[in-house]
Amino acid sequence: MNDNQQLTVRREVTDAALVVHVVGEVDLATSLQLGREFVGLERKASPTLPLVVDTTEVTFLASAGLSLLVDLNQRCADAGVDMLVAAGNDAVMRTLETTGLTDLLTVVANLEDALKPAR
């Protein structure tokens, strides 16, 4: 049943941001993989190139993934890098809101909003 293709992560540099597209399920089974993908992102982005974590195609977000987002957000803050989460769907928003993380993270509704210039 598990084909180890539950999660894919892709990086993209646009004029506006370093975008990390996270696609699939974020849970205990995939959080190690996601953690590895998140390593050093705060150094690949910069104070002039914000980091956007695109979760619009995340179909399941468990608490194991929330910790990774919070850690990454803290590392970005320490490095003076803006980090935005493009939530994009109800499953992600529900998890973020229920845990109060919409107050801690900078969450925008979709990827277009995250890539608007002059933030």
Binding site: M1, N2, E25, A29, F60, S63, L66, T98
Partner: protein, 130 residues
């Protein structure tokens, strides 16, 4: 809501097995006619209870988690039982510890009962008004 239907699974407390259990629960919730938004809440809350057991009660060493879901006319009850050693959620929320808030926040009612022989988590969702 289709009452009387039950799902009963013995789940290995390992990340891959939890994925299978989550799929089974999703199909079951669909079959008993839970509304879409409740279904998402149920699957995530139950997953967090199982993940908590795998990570904290069994500390990644494996063990058996008993998953039980039952639909009644009044709603749905999900029970997750482990036979590991309870550890209270860490005060520091930076690393872990968002599982319990999800269980509490996504269910209509929940209880987490630690005991000497394991932990029982019971979560309920009331049937929506017709």
């Amino acid at each position: 809501m289709v009452s009387g239907r039950e799902l009963r699974r013995r789940v290995n407390a390992q990340a891959d097995s939890l994925v299978d259990a989550r799929c089974a629960l999703t199909e079951w919730a669909l079959a008993v006619g839970m509304p879409t938004n409740q279904r998402g809440d149920l699957v995530l809350a139950a997953y967090e209870a199982m993940a908590n057991a795998a990570e904290h009660a069994y500390r990644g060493q494996g063990g058996i988690i008993e998953l039980h879901a039952r639909a009644t006319a009044g709603g749905v009850v999900v029970t997750v039982v482990d036979h590991g050693v309870w550890r209270p959620p860490p005060d520091h929320k930076g690393i872990r510890g968002r599982g319990i808030p999800l269980i509490e926040g996504l269910s209509h009612r929940s209880t987490v009962m630690p005991g000497e022989e394991g932990t029982t988590v019971v979560m309920t969702w009331a049937a929506p008004d017709p």
